[in-house]
Each structure stands twice: as C-alpha cells, then as structure tokens.
Amino acid sequence: MAMEPAAVRDRPTGQELTADFDARIAAHQRIEPRDWMPEGYRSTLVRQIAQHAHSEIIGMQPEGDWLTRAPSLRRKAILLAKVQDEAGHGLYLYAAAETLGVDRADLTQRLIEGRQKYSSIFNYPTLTFADVGVIGWLVDGAAICNQVPLCRSSFGPYARAMVRVCKEESFHQRQGYELLLQMMAGTPAQRTMVQDAVDRWWWPSLMMFGPPDADSPNTRQSMAWGIKRDTNDELRQKFVDMSVPQAVALGVTLPDPDLAWNAERGHHDFGAVDWAEFKRVVSGGGQCNAERVSRRRAAHEEGAWVREAAAAYAAKHQGTGQGDDR
C-alpha cells in the first residue's frame, strides 16, 4: 500500500535500521512491506518474485495448447481450471511484488522485452496429451518442492502468496498423475506416449531447481536473508527421491542409467544434468522461447483496448459509484 511517510521525527540511523532488520531475520520474524529493508534484499525479492510471476503466466501456454484438443469434457474442464489457476498464481505474485514498490505493468513490459526471465521449463513444447499429465506430475511436482519451503520465506507477502499457491498446486500434481495412471492402463500406444513424455520432461524438470550450488553465487545471501530456505541441490535431491517410487508405481522408467539408491547416503544417486543445455535454453536458445514471448506480447497488446475501454467506462461513471480517487 502506498502511504504518506510519517511526519519527520527522530529518524533512526542507518545502523539502527540495519540492526533492527538483522534482528528480525535472526528471530525468524517476517519482514512486511513498510519495514525498512536493505536495498539488496528488496531487489533480490523483486527479481525472484517477478521471475516467479512471469513463469506462472508463461506457464499457461504449454498446457493451454491442449485446451481445444483435450480428449474428453472432463479432461477439458480440469485443464481449464488448472490453466486458470496458473493465471491466478501469477496475479498473487505480481501483487506481492507490487508491495515492494514496483509496478505490475512495468514488470509485464520487462517480460515481453526479454529483460526479465521466466522458468526455462516452459520453453519446451507439449507434443502429446501425455505431456499434460507429465507436466502435472513432474513439473508441478518440482514446483511444489521449490515452493513449499517458500511458504516460510522471510518476506510476508511472498510467503502468504506461496501458501495460497501451494494449496492449489496439489490439485495440479494429482490431476496429472491420475491422467498418467489412466493412460498407463490403456493401450500399448498410450503407454509408449507416456514413456516418451517422461523421457523428454525428466531432465528439464531437474533443471527447474537452478544451477548447482557451486555455481549459484546468490544462494548464500538469499539463505542468510531467509528468502530461500534450501539450496538448489538439496531441493533437486529431494525431488529425485520423491519421484522414483512414483515412477515405479506408474510403471515408467526415468531416463537416467545412473539413477540408483545409495543406502549409505540414504538418497538416490543420479546422473549429471546437462547444464550447457540449461544455459542455452535460459538465454533464449530453447525450442519455444520466441513463441512464448511473442504470444505473451500479442495477448498484452491485443488486450489493450479492453483495459482502455474499462478505464473509460469507469471515468464516465465517476461519481455515480461509491468511491473515487481522481
């Protein structure tokens, strides 16, 4: 909320403000929008929340491609609800970002100009309807792994948005897994389709957790600030351990010959992620990067007249409504 600053009085010094902030973080208290915060904390949050919001919005596209091709009315209704949720998640997150003093129209502009990124996973195409199931199971599964710890993020509005998002993601993952179970109980061609989708999405899903800890220079500071709660590698390991028994139950093979239980570590060992591919896709070289951004731009520009018409209507009826701030 934008408020007038309090009348000038005995202002605390920079040192006192920093000490106050550090003490609050150390006590695991939440930081709220109008609290003083270091500039680095604010800009890290803006970058992370905006990138997260953009991912939700762009994330509507790969699955949205199947809305008109869903094999049944039931699947279509489910998919519509899911894609609508992704839009909602994007809006919760833009609202959280705005509490930090940025403007959502500006964030959208930065996205369509390629100045801010979104998750690399959405630059892969959805080739068959099995992809819809695998996205629910693996991509949303990875997202849940990432997001559950963020419900305890030190920034209040972000943490609260994540609580809401996580509640809804659970539906996303379960509908995907159930869809796959049904396909695996179908024809040999359907089972092949599921395995093919798993083969294509497994490694990109592991990349969703970001670069390995050794190459993630911001992780340490983000964890010290309570913005992040676990490292990329910790979350990736957790996701692998969760997914293996789910793959067994489904009857699919995860495409990694090095994947094996390590009793000593109490975790699964797994093969090396192709980080060169990750860097290539993140920096625009994926199969669908150009398509995703141009479609987002088209939606934004083609919707401009609706936004203008609604604003004109509101201006015309000014004074007949309850409130007015112009």
Binding site: M1, A2, M3, P5, A6, R9, R11, P12, E32, R34, D35, W36, A81, Q84, D85, G88, L91, Y92, A95, A96, E98, T99, G101, V102, D103, R104, A105, P157, R160, A161, R164, E168, R307, E308, A310, A311, Y313, A314, H317, G321, Q322, G323, D325, R326
Partner: protein, 99 residues
C-alpha cells in the same frame, strides 16, 4: 503503489474475504481494477475459486491510512506500560473459586 501510477492505469484495490459466517473479513491480497464493481468481480475470480469466502470487501489502497512501522515504539507505547489492564496484574488467593 496506486498513488504513483499513471492516470491511464487501473487503481490498486485491497481485498478482504470473510471465510465463513462468524469470522472477520481478512486481508488476502490486492488487485488492479478500473472501478469498485470490477474489483469485486475480479476478487471473486482471483481469491475465491474454491469456496474460500462468503463475503468480499474491496477498498482502494489509496483510501487506507496506516500507522508507520518507524513509529512503532512511540505509537504503541501507551498500551505498553499499562499492565493493570490485564487480569493477571491482580493476585487473587488460590482458594477463591470462579474468578
């Protein structure tokens, strides 16, 4: 940040939802809308897709006046030193019932 938004942008509304009868409206987030009516519709679509509420309030963010976190000490000090407002301030012998 509606105050700094250009005039052609939709103003910011804060959204409050009553989860069920008997509970207070609770702040759930914000959204942009051209007017109150649209804000209410958008709030329904955004914040109550799974029966999260039975009533919604929307209010322009610019209409809210809030205390400043900087002044938390002096602003809330009047309640800090009045321990006699709490029932535990008054010692009562253990054998006195119902009090």
């Amino acid at each position: 940040m509606s105050d700094s938004a250009p005039a052609d942008e939709w103003p910011l509304f804060e959204v409050f939802v009553r989860g069920k009868r008997g509970l207070n409206h609770v702040h759930v987030g914000s959204l942009h809308a051209p007017d109150e009516e649209m804000a209410l519709h958008s709030a329904r679509n955004l914040y109550t897709r799974r029966n999260e509420g039975v009533s919604i309030w929307v209010v322009r963010a610019s209409a809210i006046t809030a205390s400043s976190p900087d002044e938390k000490d002096p602003f809330f000090a009047p309640s800090g030193d009045k321990v006699y407002r709490h029932p535990t301030f008054y010692p009562i012998p253990d054998d006195v019932p119902h009090i």
